[in-house]
Structures are given as C-alpha cells and as structure tokens.
Amino acid sequence: MIELKDINKIYEINKNHKVEALKKVNLTIKEGELIVLKGASGSGKSTILSLIAGLSKPTSGEVIVDSKQISKLLDNFSSVYRRDNIGFIFQKYNLIPTLSVKENIALPLVPLNPTTKELEQKLDKVMDMFHILHKKDMIVKNLSGGEQQRVAIARSYVNNPKIIIADEPTANLDKKLSLKFIEILKELKSLGKTIIVATHDPLFYGLEFVDREIEVHNGSLVL
C-alpha cells in the first residue's frame, strides 16, 4: 500500500524563484490498483511519481510504502528500495543508446552481480514477455520508438517489482503503439502489480480496467 500524507514539494530554481509543485497532497493507493493521474503539463503528476519512487524527497510530509517511510530513507537505502520494489518507465525511456537491448534491460540487475545463468534466465523471460527477444543484440538507438518503449518496459520489469510507475508513457508514440502499450498495462495489472500512470493522453481515460482516475491541478488533487 502507498500513502502520501500532507505532501508539499517546493523546487528552488534560484534564491528568488521558488516553484510550489505540490500543495498538501494526500493520496492512498491500495495494492494491485491501477491509478491514472491526469492533468496538464506542470500540474505536479511527475512529482508525485518521483516521490513514490523515492527519486526525490518531499519538502514536508511523508511517503509510506508498505509501512516503510520512503521519504526519510538515506540515499543508498532509497536505491535499494527502488531496485527491489519499483519499475519506472520514463517519459523519454532513458535508455543507454549505445548499449544493446539485452544490456539495457540487464542494467537494474548489474549491482546484484547474479550468476550468468540467473541473468540469462531473467533476461530471456522478460524479453520474451515483451516480444523483443528477437532483437536482443541490437543497439537500442537503431530501434523504432515502439521497440524502444518495449525495452524500457522490460527494463522496468526485469527485477519483478511490486509497483510499476509510468510517466507519460505514450507521449512519443502514435495511436497504434499507444493502444499496444495499454494492452501491456492490462496484462501487468492481471499479474497483480500496483500501477500508477501519469498522462494527459485521453486514450487512458475511461478504461474499464483502470481502478481510479485522479486529476492533478496546480499541485493539488482534484477530488
């Protein structure tokens, strides 16, 4: 379960310019839920995602995941928390363009130093699941947008995380590929994952397998 309690997040651009990204946000997400955060650019959706993922810390308030205070974790513990619990699909995918598909997907596993056999098994399973096994040795920058997205999803899934977070996942895709992504989301939900998607793509609105749609406006949740 994910809880955000009285979250405030202020970004200090410089001494005289501060941006209040989130104001007194309270949010609870149950295990296995698929939540869509909708709102315009700059509304604070991405900030909520990064707080849940432990990528940044709130200015005040608490982020609690499975009874653990994520917002107070030290840097290294925060990384371990992300490694073990979070699969993050970034807006721009954030793949390493000169590495191969296989090497990119393996990145979250590298610090764990698995045996070669373990590594191969996990990679093959995940690549097969997202239909990119046939392109495993291809350099990522030579892939199409849809293929790159599947690599990004595979990378987020390789550690079998409980929570999957997607930030504007269809921003760079056409309608066909966006719908394919939605299918993947449905499959992930059926596996019992907790999924949070931040998007202003209307394709996500009104989907039957989405548990809740929450509007974010000017750093606050519209209830």
Partner: protein, 393 residues
C-alpha cells in the same frame, strides 16, 4: 548472489569508455606520454646512480689537491711522507693524471698514470683488461673501449702519437682494451705508467696531480682529513663522503632541470583533470541519474567510475612504462640522456645499464594513477549524491 568482483560493472565501464572513444584516446595519449617521460627520467637517474653508488666505495677515502691563488695546481710528492705519518693512514699515493684533447676525434680523453708495482693494482689489472698483451712493445697503454673506437676511426690501430706541450710527438703502443663491463667507468680513459704520463704532460718527478689516501677505519676518515687540512692549509681535502654528497647534488640539479620541463607536461595533464573534476557533462550526469533511478546505489556508481578511470590509467601506465624501458635501455634515451650527461660533443658514447627498481615503478604508479582516479570519482560522487530526479530533469 556472488561476493566476488562484479564483472558486469567492469563490462559497463568498458562500454562507457568505448562510448566516448575520442576523449578516451586523447586522455590515454597524454597520460601515457607523461608516464613515459617520468619513468624514463627515473630510469636514467637510477642507472647512473647505481653505477656511482656501487663503485664509490672503491674510491680512495681522501683526495688531496693543491690550491694556489684559488686555482688547482700540482702538488709536491714530498707531502706523501708527511701524510703517511698520520695515525690511521693506511696508504698515500701521489697520482698523476690529466686530460688530453684529441683534436681529430674531437674528444677529451682522461689519462691516468699508474705505478704497476703498487700492490693493489697488479692482481686486478689482468681481470679487467681484455686482449691484454703483456709482451707488447713499449711504451704501452691500455684504453677504454670508447677511446679504442675513436682511435680506430683515425686509423690508430696499434699505437697513438701524443703531442707533448713542446710540440714533439710521443708514440705509445696499445697493449689492451678494458673489459666491456667497465664501459661506463673506463670509456674515455687511457691508463699508462706514471713515468710515461709525466713525460707526455711534462710534469716533474717531484710533482703530482694530487694525492690519494687510504684510511683503514672509515670512522677515522674525517679526523684524518682535518689533520691533513691543519698540516697543509693550502690544500683542498675531499673525502669519499663529500663525493657521495656531490653525486647526490648533481643528480638533484639535473633532475631539477628536467622537472621544469616536466611541469609543462604536468600542467597539460592538470588541465584535463580540472576539466574532469570541475563537473561532468550533462550527458554523463543524466546517465548517473538514470542508473540511480533504476536502482544503482551511490557505491555501485562509484565502483563503475573507478573501474573506468582505473582501466584508462592502468593501460596508460603499462604502455608508458613499456615505452620507457625500450626508449632508455634499447634505444639509449636519445635527447633525454643529454640532459643528464650534457650536450657536449666531447664525450664518447656509452650504454645505460639496466637496473630493475620496483620502488621507481611503484612511485610512478602512485604519482599518476590515484590522481586521475580521484579526479574521475569526485565529480561522479557529487552528482551521484544528488536526488536522481534532479539529475534526470
């Protein structure tokens, strides 16, 4: 999970280096050049120092030179008897030696006169001379290999004509050549009898170039030297310890000259370091942010950066040292050697002996690699400790 070295981190590091190929090549080249220069200088100094240090103990404990009006001049042979009377003195010998400028060869030769009947020389003479012909025509001399070569180039194969101060010639036959093992010591040397040398240089029988003294107990050397100074206030008394210090000074001075040149190279290197240390490119920062976002700890990031820096610097180290070994010991350090031995044309050439000194290799390693590794890790650490979110955006 395994607790051994994480091979995947090393693989990632190698990929990372290859991703920035041209930058890596540039840094490696500069670094290799620096290590090469530094190591080559250390090798040259080590070789020369080793020769000096290992032979200095065979030198006489005290050398006495006569000073007149602030300049060195011939010394009276009579003084030997007075010196022999000092307690602790084992032996005192009047030496006759000097320099002879061989115009055709364009070199200064060192001529040393020895009395073949002096006890300490006879036995060792035969061991150190190659092709020594005891029955050669007289008068005869023994040459260093460099001198033999110079003479041969001027067609003096069997004898040489010395030109005396009055312009007359003195023919001296070549009886032998000193063993190659003594090249660094004997290269410009000609050894002949004292009598003959006196004749060639026109030095009277009651005069000598200087006097060398052997003292049985090394602890008494400075005391004997003081006594000699008191007895003969117009002399300069040089002990073996003084020679050791002067060797040290000479190399320190020459090393200082080199250091000035090296600093220019080091400056270039530090510019690179500064560029690295002052901050990573936005691409590099983003990459660290991504790695942290997908679950890498700060430690993992730093370990990877360490491997990256270590691979480049260690590669440069091995290549630099290999090049230095070849440059100094196989090609005899052209250009660089002259900094230590001078640019004079009046010197015969010689070969640097190989000394394997692990301390030098460790010193070069410590002077170079940790700096570069530190300069790579520090900015990475700064970025890695920021919030990943800040870095990615």
């Amino acid at each position: 999970m395994r607790n051994k070295i994480n091979i995947y981190l090393i693989e990632y590091a190698i990929n990372s280096i290859l991703r920035q190929k041209y930058k890596a090549i540039f840094i490696t080249t500069v670094f290799t050049l620096l290590i090469f220069l530094l190591t080559a200088v250390f090798f040259i100094t080590n070789s020369l120092r080793y020769e000096l240090d290992s032979t200095v103990d065979s030198l006489p404990e005290i050398t006495i030179q006569n000073i007149k009006a602030g300049r060195e001049c011939d010394i009276d042979v009579d003084m030997v008897d007075d010196i022999l009377g000092i307690a602790g003195v084992n032996d005192a010998v009047a030496r006759v030696w000097g320099y002879y400028y061989f115009k055709n060869g364009g070199v200064n030769l060192s001529l040393v006169g020895v009395d073949e009947y002096e006890k300490q020389y006879k036995k060792s003479f035969s061991n150190i001379v190659e092709k020594f012909d005891l029955n050669s025509k007289t008068p005869s001399m023994v040459l260093g290999s460099g001198v033999e070569k110079i003479f041969k180039d001027s067609y003096y194969d069997e004898y040489f004509n010395f030109i005396k101060p009055d312009g007359t010639l003195k023919k001296v036959y070549i009886a032998g050549v000193f063993d190659g093992a003594t090249e660094l010591e004997s290269n410009d040397m000609i050894v002949m009898s004292k009598e003959l040398l006196r004749y060639i240089f026109n030095i009277d029988d009651d005069k000598a170039t200087d006097i060398v003294v052997k003292v049985a107990n090394p602890k008494e050397v400075s005391m004997v030297a003081s006594k000699i100074r008191l007895m003969f206030p117009n002399t300069r008394v040089i002990t073996k310890q003084d020679l050791k210090i002067s060797y040290q000074n000479i190399f320190d001075y020459k090393s200082g000259v080199f250091l000035a040149l090296f600093i220019v190279g080091l400056f270039t290197f530090f510019i690179i370091i500064y560029d690295k240390a002052s901050g990573l490119s936005s691409e590099e920062k983003r990459e660290i942010g991504i790695l942290k976002a997908i679950g890498w700890k700060v430690d993992d990031v730093l370990k990877e950066k360490f491997y990256e820096a270590f691979i480049i610097s260690f590669f440069s180290y091995i290549v630099g040292v290999s090049l230095a070994v070849g440059y100094v010991y196989i090609f005899q350090a052209p250009l660089l050697k002259n900094i230590f031995i001078g640019y004079s044309d009046l010197k015969v050439s010689f070969e640097l002996p190989f000394i394997f000194d692990i301390q030098t290799l460790v010193l070069v390693f410590l002077l170079t690699i940790p700096i570069y590794v530190g300069a790579t890790i520090i900015p990475s650490w700064r970025v890695a400790t920021l919030d990943a979110d800040e870095v990615i955006r």
